[in-house]
Symmetry: C2
Subunit: 455 residues, 2 copies
């Protein structure tokens, strides 16, 4: 609509400035020392919603970090869209690999660099500015609710309870999330699902204290060696996961579905060049798009043990630790898989060591039906702003809370993401292209318009 475009063009500088202010708050949910920053950030989100034109907004404390809720109810007969996003961000380590400080957002080559730019401040804030566009041009086509949480990066531990206790408040027809990516602005795509997640931590304990590796080495099991042997045994020579039962519940796609999925544009050489690797790796019998979309995976997210400082120390450490997570696909249940992984690690522990495995967090996989009104509204919105139809894709990431929207609120979820795979999510130099930010603000009002018309 010309009136939206015009409003957005006039205010684009301010739209950017406001996002930069939000990015400056170090809202790292995993770090206890950022607790106050989380509160500051939640208040900023609430204020931004009020300024954009919601009728009410509130910060709800939880047992963890606060949840921000806001709403604009235009007409009880119209459908209601629940916009979900998160204002918390990932930790920033390793800090020395950032070209500019993570919480001093910097613009270079049309990209905003900083923690949370794409995941998810830059993306949920598009919804705030899209709302402002519709409110200021007097064209809000339906009821919109905002649910912006502060614990997505640590497993949304308190959101389930909040949803259970506030079912009426959150009542909606569909959940709209911008926290995923598309292929490119030239080749827009829509994620039709997210993988589930099962995240655990394992600690291998050998002797009751760190030992001198010369005096005891060779006579006492080294927890690092044992942990490495355990990790190595988790994949076979075809890179299949060896944990018994791991694949049992995986819904197998038909050949037809696999052919369709592999039609998405994918240039292996470009992919390898971008990542700087000579060869790709993965489960035998599957393409890269399948490995990251429809197959469950098991990844090591961290490992530590012994002396890790400068120089050398001849220690045989008492402990070695690792963080391990699995991405799950439709059919798999995160609680069951977490239990399988933990039991397996304990089962393969040799008698020389003690193994303690504990669950971190998890969530179930989710798939959006592409023949639904919701999906078609999103497709039309992309067509309106991009001039071409989006390619449906299975995303590799996880938004564990999605399955709860379905079970508690009885809502389907639409993933209207504007990030790119190259945004360095969870990594140093996270970035978000300014053009993608503006394109999102342009597209979102169309979704509301078409959904109001089609529902």
């Amino acid at each position: 609509m010309q009136v939206w475009k015009q409003y957005q063009e006039q205010h684009k500088e301010r739209f950017l400035e406001e996002l930069l202010a939000l990015l400056r708050v170090p809202s790292i949910s995993a770090k206890p020392e950022n607790k106050q920053d989380m509160i500051t950030c939640a208040e900023m989100v609430k204020e931004s919603l009020l300024e954009a034109g919601v009728q009410k907004a509130e910060v709800y404390p939880t047992a963890g970090h606060p949840i921000v809720y806001g709403e604009i109810m235009v007409n009880a007969s119209k459908p209601t869209v629940l916009v979900y996003g998160h204002y918390d961000v990932q930790p920033v380590e390793p800090l020395e690999l950032w070209d500019t400080p993570p919480f001093e957002p910097t613009i270079r080559d049309g990209k905003i660099y900083g923690r949370g730019t794409a995941d998810d401040k830059g993306q949920f804030y598009m919804h705030v500015k899209a709302l402002e566009t519709m409110v200021k041009t007097d064209s809000v086509p339906l009821n919109i609710k905002f649910l912006i949480e502060g614990e997505e990066e640590v497993g949304s531990s308190n959101l389930g309870t909040f949803m259970q206790e506030n079912k009426e408040l959150l009542k909606a027809d569909v959940v709209l999330i911008s926290d995923t990516s598309m292929i490119s602005l030239d080749t827009p795509s829509l994620d039709t699902g997210v993988r589930g997640l099962s995240y655990i931590e394992v600690e291998v304990t050998g002797p009751n204290r760190d030992l001198h590796s010369g005096v005891y080495g060779g006579a006492v099991a080294n927890p690092i060696t044992i942990l490495a042997q355990m990790i190595a045994s988790l994949h076979d020579e075809n890179n299949h996961v060896t944990i018994p039962g791991f694949y049992d519940d995986v819904q197998v796609l038909s050949n037809e579905e696999r052919v369709l999925l592999n039609k998405a544009p994918f240039d292996e050489q470009e992919y390898k060049d971008d990542l700087g690797v000579k060869e790709l790796w993965g489960e035998k019998g599957y393409t890269t798009l399948e490995r990251t979309g429809i197959r469950p995976t098991l990844e090591l997210n961290g490992i530590w043990g012994g002396y890790t400082g400068e120089g050398s120390k001849t220690v045989l450490p008492a402990k070695a630790n690792a963080k391990i997570s699995a991405r799950l696909v439709p059919g798999q249940d995160h609680e069951k898989i977490t239990e399988l992984i933990i039991n397996h690690l304990q089962a393969i522990a040799p008698p020389y060591v003690t193994v303690k495995a504990t669950p971190h967090h998890g969530g179930n996989p989710y798939v959006t039906p592409i023949d639904s009104v919701e999906y078609k509204a999103a497709e039309k919105a992309i067509e309106a702003s991009f001039g071409k139809s989006p390619i449906p894709l299975r995303g590799g990431g996880s938004i564990p809370i999605t399955s709860l929207f379905e079970s508690i609120l009885n809502c389907k979820t639409i993933f209207l993401g504007f990030g790119l795979d190259s945004d360095n999510l969870h990594s140093p130099n996270e970035k978000y292209n300014i053009e993608n930010y503006y394109k999102g603000i342009e597209t979102i009002p169309y979704f509301h318009k078409f959904y109001a018309e089609m529902k």
Copy 2:
């Protein structure tokens, strides 16, 4: 001798106080931030030698940390003993496991707790106080030189050059070192050798940046997983090291020698209970005493990669690193083994990653002939102060510089150690029993006396 015993009894409180003062200096050679502490410590050592009665003492700067030299030359016709020790200590991490701060030496139950108590400040300082005893009782039986360095814990990188450049200054008939342990005060033992060391660091690089484990997991090799697989492959199911050529030059002991070695008192249950492990581990076909004495070993000293902080982060890291060291036995050459390990790690690196392996430091193994005058003098010294003969043992640790004493100074080395295996060397809560400290001061003058008489 009654006169020594009497002098030591009168000054024992001061002998302890002086050691505590030396222990308070955080002389960690591996840490650049302790450079000034190293200089302070070297000066203290020089002063203590002068106060004990050497005729001259000097601090020699090197490309790294300074070396302290001191001497008392009583008679050119008498033999000369070169006492070697080191004033540098290991890093103190993990700091949270220390019951009392590492550089605030604390006495509990007759033991001095603190970094460097046994390794090696508490042990080389026995020689300073033994010298004082002989000087003050006018009974120095031969010429004594002191060579106390500050880089033993980081590979003695500059000691070889110093020895080459000061052959005349360091000229001696035997090297005497107290930097090893004995079975107990009830069962004194003498190490007849130390193992060599080959220490390397390996870095496995996958993608050119940290990645989101959901977006790329399953499609790109995870450096932690690959490193774990590489580490796991370094030992076979019998815990033999699989690196080609690793055992090639190992001097095989005769059955007779093995029988003799296994006569040393060893209580497996006590050993396991002390370490808190249910089962021991090691190379098939060898006893624990053999595994730690006459067999080469390969140990993981550290590992790190990905997210190691609190909570969870779903990252597929760009890199994973490990510190690996081998203990070597007679016949093996540390430069050859270092090259074998590095080449092997590069050879087994899969094409998905880049492997960089770099040497840290090393040293050759060393064995003292037990039929030598030197060894017999040490044996007699133990008999004089303990009232029983010492058991000859092969030590598991390494004093890489020992082989240089032989090649550069043409000197055999005697290991007159008074530590215990339970002293927590290189670990939190390092300690040295006060009784062992005094017993060392009592024994050392006997060594000089008998060696002067027998040589």
